[in-house]
Symmetry: C2
Subunit: 188 residues, 2 copies
Amino acid sequence: MNTRDHLVDLGEAAMRQNGYGGFSYAHLAKQAGIRKASIHHHFPAKADLGLAVLDRYADRLVTALNDIKSTSRTGAQALQACVTLYRTALDDSNGMCLCSALAADRAILTEPMKQMLDRANRKVIAWLESVLLLGRQDRSIVVPGLPADDAVAVLAQLQGAQLLAKASGHMALFNTAMSSIQARMSRS
Amino acid sequence: MNTRDHLVDLGEAAMRQNGYGGFSYAHLAKQAGIRKASIHHHFPAKADLGLAVLDRYADRLVTALNDIKSTSRTGAQALQACVTLYRTALDDSNGMCLCSALAADRAILTEPMKQMLDRANRKVIAWLESVLLLGRQDRSIVVPGLPADDAVAVLAQLQGAQLLAKASGHMALFNTAMSSIQARMSRS
DNA sequence: ATATCTCTACCGACTAGTAGGTTGACACGG
DNA sequence: CCGTGTCAACCTACTAGTCGGTAGAGATAT
């Protein structure tokens, strides 16, 4: 397997678990079975690795969301699949959505990373807005107020639920924190 | 002014802005106009300072919430004041609720800090539950499902809104992320 | 076929700087 | 004289990043 891709994999896991400032090249090197200097060969600076991780993550997230939308029959189905996606991420990588994990470390991110983080968040919000709009049309989701505002509220709840679950070490808390979203969806 | 209290002040600000791993004794010493060793005199280990900060913060938060409840006439009034509290914290300290700021760093927290963090979160959730219950009785808040579950959902949304606002550097996003909470409250 | 050249991936040893933490001495007020 | 608070100097471990160099694969030239 490609060493570079392997490093991006490990870097993503590390960042999702401990944030950008929470892992080191030395730590990563040990995991990859490689020397620190060799990581610098692939990613001259830590920010280069961070950007590569973020870039690939954003791509994958947008693709996953688009897949969900194209295979869902109702808005509620799409929103439910999205909630499940965030829940699964919590279990799989024992870490959060990169966007939430990086928010705390924003002060030490490079400008390109900040911009990419913003773009990723905006894309997710736009997707949620379109799903809420669809759900309002097909009467599968109750949408109070403007879908554009509500989309931000839903994302906040998704990320906050991950935060709360991780802070308590109690992953089931994620589902509880999603209760008010579930209540707004008609069961299919 | 008491040096020890001053250090707790500075430590709280640092932790809320950059998390537990995001500040150092050297950094703190410079701010306090004191040497690193002197900080160790007051707080032998960083974890001691962290615990002191968290302890005082939890106390103050619970007190503030209880004050809100005793001066509010309706559930909606209390909830609105709570939302304002979280919003103000975002501006004042340019940082988040400690509970959210520490969630990302949970891996490097000591056991006592983790326990205190959990206790603080549970207290806020219990407070929110009582407010939702009150709001349902006086018909000032729409509560779908169990108040106990909804309380967790509201806290997730509060913390997620702070996260999102901070990640984007756009504090106004907090208000947008609260839209669906506002929609559930009858205007007084 | 063999010598040369080039490139990728890797590594050991190093740098300057920072992390949290320790020690022993000095000042000062009760 | 004793407790409190402060300090300079120091320590070990770790941070990101640099340096010169090596092993091997593939192409090219003779």
